[in-house]
Assembly symmetry: C2
Homo-oligomer: 341 residues x 2
């Protein structure tokens, strides 16, 4: 019988301080999950194992420079622990760019992976949907989007339990000829793949459920993710303001409180606690910068679930199926002249 | 004293049929606004002047081809009327791509304009905000974004009445070094311009009020617009579902009905009825495909307001201020090597 899953937790990531991170890690600790805290000497880890580190990467530091300069930061040391087999996954609420840089440098890409991508679960109304890339790569080529779709499909299958995940390409119209140069090229690659590609999808349906996997470049994905979060929050806050503007409304507001709380619970980004950075030789979970202890606990459990379902192995198997020749032909196709729009 | 503003209205655009369009145009007709209907012989225009046309451009036709092949379509004829001075503005709820193509071909660009852009009003909580480009140009260069910012600022000043409009560049972080290659380049151009540039803005704040003018490429803008519309609708519908799941909730739901109606009214895209296509030698208003008569009436009034405020003249003046040398230097700057990210 295997021992518990060891998850390296960066205590210095995030806005709420190490106590909140430790409390979250402790809450997730169980017979099957063993958090390992990376942080400064003297940190009260509530009995969890501490790996002492001497440096810290700030939220605003330049990622690549910080990762190279601060080898003994909690974030880098936690990633290195995965590389060295002392942990099976890493969780950080720190600088996302630094996680990406440390992942590439210390955990390294899986064979065949062009670019790791961030897979984020959208808590859509008709069931969860994976958005990939949610922000790792601001500029992408079509072949990156094809790999995001492959990685997202494995994620949807293993983690969300979708037997045959559908893939949608986020664009500005459902017709194949609608989009920018990147989506036109990616559409052809996806249509020629063995994925269950349902064509372009529009942003209108994202919160309903556009597809099991929604693929886009990391700039678009990150903008969309923030627009969704902000629009939901503003819509509900605005409604509350309108409701409390009259005494009749206030009475109604009290009565609908449980319903509103259920909706906020559904939409809460803390439910998953973080996003997977997929395409590395180990599992990375990037938690929201302002994660509460509940979010961190869920992020640690979410990481453990990925280990249990052997997500990294599944990705390695899938990407190893593509021969180098296939990759070359994909590259040639994605660089060929576009069809006339 | 000038005569009424003549607005050419394409009766065949949109999903609801010509009767709805005519009803909307009629509702907007007044002493100062005179709609001119473009549609087939025999159409009952309720007394409004009819310009008979013999062809129709469908919502799914390829824009450039359709516009060239169907010179006597209601959409093309309405645009030509602006060019020929028989109308001062055109309104269509038809094929957006065809409006863009017909505008470029028949109304033509203002001197100095690289690409026309769609300026859409976001009904943000702390006051309206202009999103430009909301979908005319799927692939853009940095110098296009600079012009969108200039055109959007004139729109915000003249139409929204903002004395000194602020400009925000939609990106994935507020720091200047966050973004994709396009926004990094555009950031430098905007920072060097005489606009009131407040830097990058994030999607999180769009529905609150990120800036008076929010600039982005047309792919991102169109995706964002649809994400906002869909997320608002789904959030409120979902809340209604939660509310009506219990009898306590149902009672509360009745009490908050007026508040919810006020919010829906605020957020209703029909309030403006359409978006301006800016950068042409005449004013084009693109109405939503599923516009009701109320939306069409508002779109016609919105067009008349643009004429009253001489928006096209203001754009021409602003863009004529830029000498060809300035444009060349802007182009050189935008094509120079990016700073290291």
């Amino acid at each position: 019988m295997p021992g518990p899953t060891r998850v390296a937790v960066d205590a210095l990531g995030g806005d709420h301080g190490p106590e909140e991170i430790v409390a979250g890690a402790l809450a997730a600790s169980s017979e099957s999950v063993e958090p390992l805290i990376f942080g400064p000497a003297g940190l009260d880890t509530q009995g969890l194992e501490l790996v002492e580190t001497t440096q810290e990467i700030g939220m605003d530091e330049k990622p690549a420079e910080a990762v190279r300069a601060k080898e003994d930061s909690s974030l880098v040391a936690a990633c290195r622990a995965v590389r060295e087999g002392r942990a099976e996954a890493v969780v950080s609420a720190g600088n996302t760019g630094a996680m990406l840089a440390a992942g590439l440098l210390h955990i390294r890409r899986l064979e065949g992976v062009l670019r790791p991508g961030i897979a984020l679960v959208i808590p859509a109304r008709k069931g969860p949907s994976v958005l990939i890339d949610a922000g790792a790569n601001a500029d992408c080529r079509a072949e990156h989007l094809l790999q995001f779709a492959e990685m997202g499909s494995i994620f949807a299958h293993e983690i969300l339990g979708v037997p045959h995940p559908t893939v949608g390409l986020l664009s500005i119209g459902e017709e194949p000829e609608k989009g920018n140069q990147l989506t036109l090229d990616a559409h052809r690659l996806l249509a020629g793949s063995d994925l269950i590609f349902q064509g372009n999808v529009e942003g209108r349906l994202l919160l309903e459920h556009a597809a099991d996997v929604v693929v886009c470049d990391g700039f678009t994905g990150n903008v969309v993710l923030k627009v969704m979060e902000g629009t939901t929050r503003t819509s509900l806050d605005w409604l509350r303001t309108e409701i409390t503007a009259s005494s009749r409304g206030k009475a109604g507001g009290l009565l609908i409180k449980p319903a509103a709380a259920r909706l906020r619970e559904h939409l809460d980004p803390e439910t998953y606690g973080g996003a997977y950075l997929l395409g590395l030789r180990g599992l990375c979970v990037i938690a929201h910068g302002n994660s509460s202890r509940r979010a961190i606990a869920n992020a640690v459990r979410f990481a453990a679930r990925g280990i249990e379902h052997r997500v990294v192995d599944r990705l390695a198997e899938r990407l190893a199926e593509e021969s180098p020749e296939e990759r070359v032909s994909i590259r040639a196709l994605s660089e060929s002249n576009p069809q006339e729009r």
